[in-house]
């Protein structure tokens, strides 16, 4: 054991016995522009060429603005206007920048110099003087002596930030149960997006897809908030292709099924429907739902089948909802089943 034991000196654990000597400043290497007047003149011309490019760029920007005036109805003019203004202004700015850097690198002195930093600690006299000033201020203001003022100031400082916390309450309305229900009610007609024209069951032929909103959605003040929850995809498939849950057999009408369009993963609209495979694909993360099989997830990150909207037909032949969805639409959340 004794051969591996070693007595280390007190102090820093990483003390190095033979530190690497300070290499000093690396030897100065002359540039071609220092050695040859010809090269210096070339660099000079290059720098002024870059500044000239900047001037040309500015004129290109002005020309773009004048030659392609933005006017209504001609979008290609807008494109040329922004393109040439952008190119011109970029050339103008980069010309100055590149020229300045090239100037500094080739012609300005580049001798390496060392400039030692001063100590961070102030001299002792300055520190003592600062302590004197604080003591004098304390004495004159009576901060230590007048307890009432001091404590009430502490109180004020503690309460002062409270309004900043209270205003967080204004970030939005309390969610309540708005995540759990949508506009769909018994008897609400299924209408076409965006026109709001009601849909007859006879109009939905096999292989058709209708993008559906509830009747009256367009009359609402906050229609986008309601649409984000109530959007539905209506499809008619051959009834023999449809594998329905016996408990939900009355939810479809003669092969017409309606499912929420809001993905149960993160809420994108799932609307890429394939007529023959009956696959519904979400464009955001490729979650795939099997529409013929109660929209169960067959691929991708979604973890829950799309909620089905129970539908029926009214006396005039229009499709109506039987009631709201039986579960929240869109992404799952912790207390969604409550």
């Amino acid at each position: 054991m004794s051969d591996i034991e070693k007595v280390y000196p007190a102090g820093l654990a990483g003390e190095i016995e033979r530190p690497i000597p300070n290499p000093g400043i690396e030897p100065h290497r002359l540039r071609m522009t220092d050695k040859s007047e010809k090269h210096a003149r070339t660099a000079e011309k290059q720098i002024s060429a870059m500044f000239l490019v900047s001037v040309i760029g500015a004129f290109i920007a002005i020309w773009g603005f004048v030659a392609f005036p933005i006017n209504d109805g001609d979008l290609s003019a807008t494109r040329n206007n922004t393109l040439w203004m952008g190119v011109g202004m970029a050339l103008s700015l980069f010309g100055i920048g590149f020229g300045a850097v090239h100037w500094a690198k080739t012609l300005m002195p580049d001798a390496e110099v060392s400039e030692p930093r001063h100590q961070a600690r102030s001299p002792d006299e300055s520190r003592a003087a600062a302590v004197e000033i604080i003591k004098m201020a304390d004495g004159e203001s009576g901060f230590s002596r007048r307890k009432l003022i001091r404590r009430s100031l502490y109180g004020a400082l503690a309460v002062f930030p409270v309004p900043a916390i209270v205003i967080f309450g204004d970030l939005g309305p309390v969610v309540g149960d708005s995540l759990k229900n949508t506009m769909w009610r018994e008897g609400v007609r299924l209408t076409k997006d965006p026109t709001g024209i009601p849909i007859k069951a006879s109009e939905v032929t096999i292989g058709s897809v209708f993008h559906v909103i509830p009747e009256g959605l367009s009359d609402l003040d906050h229609k986008l908030e309601e649409k984000a929850k109530a959007a539905v995809l209506l499809v008619r498939v051959n009834p023999s292709d449809l594998n329905e849950d016996p408990a939900k057999a009355g939810w479809s009408y003669d092969g017409i099924v309606a499912y929420s369009k809001i993905c149960t993963h993160v809420g994108c609209p799932v609307s890429l429907y394939e007529q023959h495979t009956h696959h519904l694909l979400c464009p955001c993360h490729q979650s795939t739902f099997d529409l013929a099989n109660h929209c169960e997830v067959i691929f991708g990150p979604a973890s829950r089948a799309l909620p089905q909207l129970p539908i029926a037909v009214d006396a005039e032949g229009y499709l109506i909802a039987q009631r709201d969805f039986d579960q929240p639409v869109g992404p799952s959340f912790w207390d969604m089943r409550k």
């Binding site: 922004t82 109009e203 007529q275 490729q286």
Partner: protein
Amino acid sequence: MKSEKPMRRRPWAAGFVIFLGLVLSGGGYAAATNVVQADASSPAQVDEGRKLFLANCSTCHGSNGEGAIGGPSLIDVGAASVDFQVGTGRMPGQGSGPQLYKKPVQFTEPQIAAMAAYVASLAPGPAIPTEEMLRTDGNATHGGELFRINCAMCHNAVGAGGALTQGKFAPKLQGVTEKHIYEAMVTGPQNMPVFNDANLTPEDKKDIITFLKYVEENDSVGGFELGSIGPVAEGLFVWIFGLGFIIAITVWLGAKSN
């Protein structure tokens, strides 16, 4: 109207009147199932179409278009379906796979018309749209809204196309003729859903086609489209070229002049 000829004497007027009459009298059901035109083709054309069908299509679609192993039934698919599938070269199919590709058209216009007439004679189905229905003078703004609601999720916001499941894809719509766009909407080729006249009225379809032709023929306001395939391509471009440029400048700034 430049011509002095009254509207009712135009060549298409008879067809249009028949079309209008059927739409009005047929009511909802007729509109929904797209039985839009009586079979106006001559028996000789149907006969010619039948011969072409037997020689080129019957192996997969059955000798009476009833369908067979490898090919669906063509009863009630209509003339529009034949005109689309054969007119874009997708049919005759080159081989089985997730999806049929567009390829050089294998038949002449009269041959396609004959086959379409034959298939249309089997059972009523969507007819080939008339010139009037395909004019691109509709409302592009309304068409754009309808396109974004009904089509853009698969075909991309300006019709650049996109991927679907298991090797299938929605083809790009740039460069597709107005007639073929219309026929695709009304027949739902392959895995595309059907957009019948109750869902998107002929006027709506015209607006959609107007929108597609508008975005195809006008430059993008925002500069180069990079294929219009969205934020991934644009992001990749910025990451490679934008960031590459910044790194190159940084290296240049730090390097000593020689």
